[in-house]
């Protein structure tokens, strides 16, 4: 008679049992805020298509305290999402070899942050230039 009786462990609440998985769930969760902001922008586009009055209404709504608070939350969440995204970037790239040496994971992550910073500053500059 076969005495084998392998035991398969269930996995309820698996992500709460390891800080690494909790962080993973949080950074995946912040993706919802990225989607939410995309919907805000789409909504703006839709209002724009309805004419000047609708567009001005959208702009006015953006300036309300509630909208400011929402945008602040969105900024923080999307900022955190980007941070985790760049943190995992070295794991998604083929070996990057510059001058015969392999670029370190930390340098790739830092490169991502610097690129984001420069792109954000450029965007701010352009927006400021248009508004003048």
């Amino acid at each position: 008679m076969n005495k084998r009786k392998p035991y398969v462990r269930p996995m309820p609440g698996w992500w709460r049992k390891n800080p690494y998985f909790i962080e993973y769930m949080i950074h995946e969760g912040t993706a919802l805020f990225v989607a939410a902001y995309a919907f805000v922008l789409l909504f703006g586009l839709w209002r724009l298509s309805q004419g000047e009055a609708a567009w001005n209404g959208f702009i006015a709504a953006l300036q309300s305290p509630l909208s400011m608070l929402l945008h602040l939350i969105l900024l923080l969440m999307i900022g955190y999402h980007s941070y985790t995204w760049f943190k995992i970037m070295p794991r998604t790239l083929p070996p990057l070899i510059i001058g015969g040496k392999r670029v370190s994971a930390a340098a790739i992550t830092a490169g991502g942050f610097i690129a984001t910073l420069l792109a954000s500053l450029a965007l701010l500059g352009i927006a400021w230039g248009i508004s003048q």
Binding site: P6, N18, I88, T92
Partner: protein, 248 residues
């Protein structure tokens, strides 16, 4: 040995009498240089000879002694009791069925390992008289890191996607698959592509990244998996532009 002791809680599961695993506590004499594996060996030699666990080399080469140490996948030989002052909990490797105590059933991984053609298939056979298949150190660099895998399966124990769906090819097998695909002497890339592109292939991975975190040999299986997401996407779309074949 010193007079100091510490308690080691060990997962027990005896299929002929236990319905489910449980924890048994042992008081073990402890010194600064003792590994978790030595702690278990002390239990088996002096306290309870029925405790079952796998081990062989004691130097992080054989990959036999993977287990959960305080909930984290570790090699017992490479983990020291001094880092767990007072008490430590040892359990069987997560996500694998438990055969007995700390011994898990590896059949699933062995099947997956066989499926990836884990050896070099020469691009074209040449007679022995023409000599070796040669490779430069630079060509070797492309796969050397991934060839460090010792099949210890810590990465599988770290992967919730594998735990939730055992059909997933998983980090270790994909890292080894990548090792052979990256080898300049190998020509079986296309036949392995079928495994990567399958539902249970690379896209089952959601980039948790914990597999690379726990790898005792710095193989970085998450890197192998994620590089192959790009490779699969390229393979899928480029077939419209050029005939199949030549994955690199």
């Amino acid at each position: 040995m010193t007079d100091q002791t510490m308690s080691i809680e060990v997962m027990r599961y005896r299929p002929e009498q236990d319905k489910e695993p449980w924890l048994q506590s042992f008081e073990v004499p402890y010194s600064d240089d003792m590994s978790v594996l030595q702690g278990l060996q002390y239990i088996r030699d002096y306290l309870d000879g029925t405790l079952a666990f796998r081990w062989s080399c004691r130097q992080a080469i054989c990959g036999s002694c993977g287990m959960m140490v305080d909930g984290v996948p570790k090699l017992a030989c490479k983990t020291f009791l001094r880092d767990y002052p007072g008490k430590v909990r040892i359990e069987a490797l997560n996500h694998f069925p438990i055969e007995r105590d700390l011994v898990v059933v590896l059949d699933d991984f062995i099947d997956k390992l066989e499926s990836i053609t884990p050896y070099i298939v020469p691009k074209e056979d040449k007679p022995l008289s023409e000599g070796e298949y040669q490779q430069t150190p630079a060509q070797m660099d492309w796969y050397a890191q991934f060839s460090g895998c010792i099949n210890c399966l810590l990465c599988y124990a770290a992967c919730p996607q594998y735990g939730l769906n055992q059909d997933f090819l998983g980090p270790g097998a994909i890292a080894l698959l990548h090792r052979y695909n990256q080898d300049s002497r190998d020509g079986a890339c296309e036949q392995r592509m079928e495994l990567l592109a399958a539902q249970e292939g690379v896209f089952n991975c959601t980039a948790v990244g914990y597999c690379s975190e726990v790898c005792p040999k710095a193989v970085d299986p998450a890197n192998a998996v994620n590089l192959n997401k790009t490779a699969v996407a390229k393979d899928y779309f480029l077939r419209f532009a050029r005939p199949k074949g030549g994955c690199k």
